[in-house]
Structures are given as structure tokens and as C-alpha cells.
């Protein structure tokens, strides 16, 4: 009889375990996203929906590109910003990149005007990974005085590019204003996508960070609607192995089972600090038409302090028509 009881209890607990694992498993789409990103052929678009700038990262056959999508009243235009292909990095200047620089400058200008504390810089946006992420998840419609009036109508009409060999990345004579050291970070996926792409070669990692681990599924209210969500936890450990803080990711899915938002907060000293809120537009392995193509542009050699650079007469490397 005793044995019977034990067996029964075992069977029951096994059933509970199985049941719970079904009820609280990761969304099926999560594994799909993971394999899409891992395959190296993907198109990821993120940023606020609606009019304005969004970011995208596209990769295919070892070529990787990131850029901006500008959605206007009539249609959306893509503006490539950075590209890696065959051991060469490309940087482009066009309306999209200039607009993004303006967004960042306006934000900095505003915080300078309001004399924000040095402490503000980190909580507002997760700047660690990527300069683009700064405004990737949040858009302010408050266009500053300078950006709105003086900045208007000064956008370049055509895309131009500069190219640099990968081996030249540490060249001491590179123009420091070009910030070639940031070029890899600008090809990375947004930091919140670490739940699927932690080991992506371009992904940056912060001190003591560990890979996010799936903890549970649940329901969360977003914009007044009940949504299904997956929760992930990534711990920050010091060099003695003590857990100092937890990064909590909440991946929120819509009714069709597609990911549309990732919230990232930091749990530290009993407080919860918001870190990032990322709107995902699409993660797909079907690349939009011409998304990976080299933009029509004139491409010049990067400024490495040669005599032609000093004369402001850079060498034309190629012209893509």
C-alpha cells in the first residue's frame, strides 16, 4: 500500500510537471526568431510605428547592413547607414542618417539646456550597446528649435558613402571625427534582442552580464489589452560571482502570436529601473526587395590623413548606379 501511494504521488507530480511545462513554455515564435537570427539571413525592423524614423538591420550571406526607415504620409523610404561586406566597412550619409543625428543632437541639447545630472544618461536609454539604440525605442515629437527650423531643408539629396578596409580599422591616422570605432556597434541588433541573439557576433555585452534565461510565460496588460508575454532574466554578476542586479526582459506577443514589444527593466537594490522599451516591427527571414543591395551612391575612400584627404579631395573608389 505504501509503495502504491508513492507511485501515485510520483505519477501525479510528473503530470503536474508536464502540465506546467506546457502551460508556461516559451511562445513557439521565440524559437523561430532565434533560428532566423542564427541563420544569418534576416531582416529586423524596430522602433516606434507610425510617421518618423525607425531602424533596421539586414543580413544575408555574410553581408550585413543597418539603416533607417523614414515613414511619411506617402510611403516609406529606406536609408542605409552602415554596411559590412567582404572585409570592408561602408558608412553612408543621406537624409535618414542626418535626421537621426539631429534627433540625437536635439536630445542632448535639451538635456544640456535643462542641466540634467550626469546620472541621467544611463537610465533614460540603454546606451551601452549601441549608439543607435539611444533613440531606437523612443521617439520624442518635441523637435527642438534648432532641429525644427534651421535644420529643415538641409538634407542631402543623394546617398554618398565612405569605405574602409577592416584591416585599416586601427589606423592611427583615421579621421577621429568619423568614429570608425563605432562602426561595428552600429551594425548590431538592439540590446533588448539579447533574448534571441545574445551570441550574435556584433552584439555588445555589458560588464558581468549573463545570457538571458527564460523564466516563465504569463499575461501582461499593454495599452489596455491583455497580452501573452514571455519573461527572461539576465543577471549581472561581479567578479566574485555575486549577483548584483537582474535585467528583466518581457517579450510581449500580439493575438497572432507575433512579437511586437520588449520591455527591459533592471531590478537593483529592491528598486525597479526602466532601461529600454523596444517596439519590434518585424523579424523575418524573407528579405524585402533590394534591402541588402548596395545603395546607389558614390563611394569614396575613408579619410586616413593622406594628401588628397588634406586637400578635401577624397578618392572616388566606386560608383554604384
Amino acid at each position: 500500500m505504501k509503495w502504491n501511494n508513492k507511485w501515485l504521488a510520483g505519477a501525479l507530480s510528473l503530470q503536474i510537471l508536464l502540465g506546467s511545462s506546457i502551460a508556461f513554455a516559451e511562445q513557439p515564435a521565440a524559437e523561430k526568431y532565434r533560428s532566423i537570427i542564427q541563420s544569418g539571413n534576416f531582416y529586423v525592423e524596430y522602433g516606434p510605428k507610425g510617421w518618423g524614423l525607425r531602424d533596421y538591420v539586414v543580413a544575408q550571406n555574410g553581408v550585413r547592413m543597418s539603416g533607417l526607415k523614414l515613414e511619411k504620409m506617402f510611403g516609406t523610404t529606406g536609408y542605409p547607414a552602415v554596411r559590412y561586406e567582404n572585409g570592408k566597412y561602408y558608412k553612408f550619409v543621406n537624409k535618414g542618417t542626418v535626421k537621426r543625428d539631429e534627433e540625437i543632437a536635439n536630445k542632448e541639447w535639451k538635456s544640456y539646456q535643462n542641466y540634467e545630472s550626469y546620472q541621467d544618461a544611463v537610465v533614460v536609454s540603454d546606451t551601452y550597446n549601441n549608439a543607435i539604440v539611444r533613440t531606437g525605442g523612443m521617439r520624442s515629437f518635441d523637435v527642438g528649435f534648432f532641429g525644427g527650423i534651421s535644420g529643415g531643408g538641409e538634407y542631402p539629396k543623394k546617398t554618398t558613402g565612405v569605405v574602409l578596409e577592416e584591416s585599416n580599422l586601427n589606423n592611427p591616422y583615421l579621421n577621429p571625427d568619423a568614429h570608425w570605432e563605432k562602426v561595428r556597434a552600429r551594425l548590431s541588433l538592439p540590446a533588448a534582442l539579447k533574448i534571441f541573439a545574445y551570441n550574435d557576433p556584433y552584439m555588445g555585452h555589458e560588464y558581468g552580464e549573463n545570457e538571458p534565461v527564460f523564466t516563465e510565460s504569463g499575461q501582461v496588460e499593454d495599452n489596455g489589452k491583455q497580452r501573452i508575454c514571455d519573461k527572461y532574466t539576465s543577471v549581472l554578476k561581479d567578479n566574485k560571482g555575486n549577483v548584483k542586479a537582474e535585467m528583466l526582459y518581457t517579450a510581449i506577443y500580439d493575438e497572432k502570436g507575433n512579437l511586437y514589444k520588449i520591455n527591459k527593466v533592471c531590478k537593483i537594490n529592491g528598486k525597479v529601473l526602466p532601461v529600454d522599451e523596444l517596439e519590434i516591427v518585424t523579424i523575418t527571414d524573407v528579405l524585402p526587395e533590394k534591402a541588402i543591395d548596395m545603395p546607389k551612391s558614390k563611394i569614396y575612400a575613408a579619410d586616413t590623413g593622406t594628401i588628397t584627404d588634406l586637400l578635401k579631395n577624397p578618392t572616388l573608389v566606386e560608383e554604384i548606379k
Partner: protein, 275 residues
């Protein structure tokens, strides 16, 4: 046998003398470890050609006075630590950028000298608004909670930049996740001027070197000088050089600095739990 004893004696004497010389920073180490001190310093930036211009400055510079951002000026500063509360100040021209950290909140404000005396300006938004025709709300401060995540990542960077590094060598905040540079005592001795010194060094993997020298006048820290050499991939070396004069470094925190000036109104919306 005699030789061996002599050798041992010489070695032990050497060790003893070097440790006696090297202990001079310990007083200051304790002050920083206990977080009880008042530091007043003057920062002298030696490399005039090193431009103090960021990307953003460059963009904004079109519209603002260029000279302000052109060169990193010398400045004076104050650091007061009293437990978890602190006060930091940097003087840039007529402006003193101040920050009080108290009971888990940070109060940033600006103090500046005018013809009519000392004035204060808080961080409250809207003060500079171009369309703000009404009375400017200059004298309001809205504190924000201490950014624990930032402190976990980078530690307490009192004074910021070079000052923070120099204090870090005296006492390293081990709680920060950023590993930071590890300096070691490289040399110590006395100078013909009567001052004694301690040299701390750091060496990077690719040939970068930092050296920081602490000068003491009869055991009191009076000056810190540092050089930073970066070795570039083509073998050339570029360097930076800073000097900090220590006007005061005492173990008594000046509590007056930790009070919000009366001219400033605290408009913080605190949590229900209170401060």
C-alpha cells in the same frame, strides 16, 4: 654565512624603508573607504591642443559660442563625502556645477556669480524655454532618485574623469562591475625640494602606460600629477598630462555643502514612503 645575514639584513631594511615611504596614502585611503572627507582641488589641464569637443558639441556649436567648447579649461572643484551622501562641484568660469546626493536623491543645480551677488539655478524644466515669457522658474530643483544601475556599472565617479581615476588609485571601489585599471606602487622616494612622492603605474597589453605621482609635504597630500601614454598601432606614442593641486583633503566632511541652498526651492515629488 656572514654574507647571507648581511644580505638578509639589507633586504629587510630595504623592505622596511620602502613600506614606511609607501604608507603615506593610507590616511587618505581610510578617508575614502569610510566615505568621510572634504576635498578641494584645482585641476590643471596641460594639453592645450587637445580639443574638448564631442560630436554633439560640434553639431550644436553652429549655434552657440564656439570658444566655450573649444578648449578644456582648468577648473577648481569640491568633493564632500559623508557616508552615502555626497557633494560634488566643478567650477567652469563663473558657473559652479553642483550636485548634492542625499538620502537616495540627486539634486543638480548651478551656482553663478553675477554683479548682484551669488545666484542659483535649479534643473527644473522650462526655465530656458524660448517661449517662456512669464517669470523664469530658475530657483527650483527637482531631485531624481540615485541611478543605482549606473553606480553598479561604473562605481562612484566622484569628480568625474581624471579626478575619479586619481581617487580610484587611492581607494578602489570594488563594488563596480567595470573592472577598471589596476595600478601598483612602482616607486617612492623624496625630492630635493623636501617633498616625498609615491608613483603608481598601470600598463596595458599593447604598450599603453599610465603613471600617477602623489606628492606629499610632511605626510600631507599636496599635488597629484599623471601621464597617460597610448601606443598606436604604427608604433607612435601619444600622451596626456594632468596636474591636480590639492588645497584641502581632510577627514571632516563639511556638512554645509550637503544642505540645499536656501535660495533654491525643492519641488521634488517624493515617493509615498518619503525621502
Amino acid at each position: 654565512m656572514m654574507k647571507k645575514i648581511l644580505m638578509a639584513g639589507a633586504v629587510s631594511m630595504l623592505l622596511a624603508s620602502s613600506s614606511a615611504m609607501a604608507g603615506q596614502l593610507d590616511t587618505y585611503k581610510n578617508m575614502l573607504a569610510n566615505k568621510q572627507c572634504t576635498i578641494k582641488y584645482e585641476y590643471i589641464y596641460q594639453d592645450e591642443r587637445d580639443k574638448f569637443v564631442t560630436d554633439i558639441n560640434r553639431y550644436v556649436m553652429k549655434y552657440t559660442a564656439k570658444s566655450e567648447t573649444e578648449e578644456k579649461p582648468n577648473f577648481a572643484g569640491v568633493i564632500v563625502l559623508s557616508g552615502d551622501n555626497s557633494y560634488t562641484e566643478r567650477e567652469l568660469g563663473p558657473n559652479h556645477y553642483c550636485e548634492i546626493k542625499k538620502d537616495g536623491y540627486v539634486y543638480p543645480f548651478k551656482r553663478f556669480e553675477t554683479d548682484k551677488g551669488i545666484k542659483y539655478q535649479g534643473n527644473k524644466e522650462g526655465q530656458h524655454g524660448i517661449l517662456a515669457f512669464g517669470a523664469p522658474s530658475d530657483n527650483k530643483v527637482e531631485a531624481h532618485p540615485v541611478n543605482d544601475l549606473r553606480e553598479l556599472r561604473y562605481g562612484n565617479e566622484y569628480g568625474g574623469g581624471e579626478i575619479a581615476t586619481m581617487l580610484d588609485v587611492i581607494y578602489k571601489d570594488e563594488t563596480a562591475l567595470r573592472p577598471g585599471k589596476v595600478y601598483w606602487l612602482a616607486a617612492s622616494g623624496s625630492l630635493s625640494s623636501g617633498l616625498t612622492y609615491e608613483d603608481y603605474q598601470w600598463a596595458g597589453a599593447n604598450g599603453d602606460v599610465d603613471l600617477i605621482r602623489y606628492y606629499f609635504n610632511q605626510g600631507a597630500l599636496t599635488k597629484i600629477a599623471s601621464v597617460h601614454y597610448v601606443k598606436k598601432s604604427d608604433g607612435s606614442v601619444s600622451g596626456k598630462h594632468y596636474v591636480v593641486n590639492i588645497k584641502e583633503f581632510s577627514s571632516v566632511p563639511d556638512e554645509n555643502y550637503l544642505k540645499l541652498p536656501e535660495a533654491l526651492k525643492d519641488v521634488t515629488k517624493y515617493d509615498k514612503e518619503g525621502k
